[in-house]
Symmetry: C2
Subunit: 217 residues, 2 copies
Amino acid sequence: MTTSAIRSASLARRERQKAETRQAILDAARELFVAEGVEATTMRAIAAKIGYTPTAIYHHFRDKDALIVELCLADFTALGHAMFKIGRIEDPIERLRRLAMAYTDFALDNQSQYRFMFMTSYQQQLKDAAGNMMPMPDEDAYQFLLQTVQEGIDKQLYRPEHTDAVELAQMFWGGIHGIVALWFTHCDDPHITFRDPRQVVRALCNCVLCGAVRNPN
Amino acid sequence: MTTSAIRSASLARRERQKAETRQAILDAARELFVAEGVEATTMRAIAAKIGYTPTAIYHHFRDKDALIVELCLADFTALGHAMFKIGRIEDPIERLRRLAMAYTDFALDNQSQYRFMFMTSYQQQLKDAAGNMMPMPDEDAYQFLLQTVQEGIDKQLYRPEHTDAVELAQMFWGGIHGIVALWFTHCDDPHITFRDPRQVVRALCNCVLCGAVRNPN
DNA sequence: GCTTTTCACTTAACACTGTCAAGTGGCTGA
DNA sequence: TCAGCCACTTGACAGTGTTAAGTGAAAAGC
């Protein structure tokens, strides 16, 4: 082994170790965020979970928000994957239905992540962080939705009064988001009766599409 | 003036003064909550705003959450009033439309209050507090919605497949909530194009009702 | 009219948070 | 063998919500 080979090997090991503890921090943070909530989990608790001192975290992340944003960004790509897994379905209307259900499934299966992604405003910090990372994968999911709606408009599947893809997309997304968000925040409220959110989302799709599509079958 | 009259008069004044500073605390808290956000406003700031010591607040409210819950409860009655102002409109479908727009207006005009009422989970504390107060006025607004939907079902205005008022109500409420909530959290996101939420809510009502009603006109 | 009680409010502190400046110690490279 | 690096620790700071122990002026009692 040459000296340069040794150098690069030890350098690589060092970097790998650093990456490992970085990942350990992220894993511990995620687990605690999910279990206790974000506000309730402290830097000290995260550090204790992985056997470090609180300030060690600050060698890997600028501050608590940076930690949050990094996890959030990872979740956005996970959502993107879940959406694209639907793949090519010819009929844009049917594709929209599948999209809605996949989105709902993701939200319900990852409640605490979803709360961060879409129920709090981290725009500024996400934007700052996005500069260093990929071009905002959430955008992809949104673009996928927008494109699916636009395709329906282009193929004249919607009634003539619906010509604005942006408006339709916002309506779909908002509608579904509201059903799951309301479920998250209020399902324990004894004054309100709730049906299974998946069922309600399905009903919303039926109603909206039945009302917006030219030839509902 | 008899001695008992003097006693009751001074007692009344004392209680009035206490009520006044209590209200002053609530007003200051509301103003700061709206301006700075709830997490960001401190007990010390609220106290400073009305010229008191932070601990003075604790003679009027158990803790910060109690302060929040009290303001929240007041907002629920405000929403209830806004809903009932719609009054008696014969057609349950048209009434539902008006309901949706009144709800949307309330949300957009009282963003920070709305965030508290429907975008965070204060169920437990609200429930605890509700024991001492009126029977949860929010319930009224929800019951109003539910009843309006049920009336439409009873009059056979909806298509035969729609028989569950709870599901329809959840769909309407959720749909509208999602459009305004998404607007609140993401309207600054440069990757997403947004239309005016009132316009989108109107479009949602059109689509849903067109799809759910037996004879859309 | 004097004393006693009440009670709205203050003072001083506590435990806890996120965060930082100044170390420390073991591995790395020469 | 030695200097340097750097992941990590120590000890602290300002700020948070909250509380136990006062304080002093107004009210109540005689």
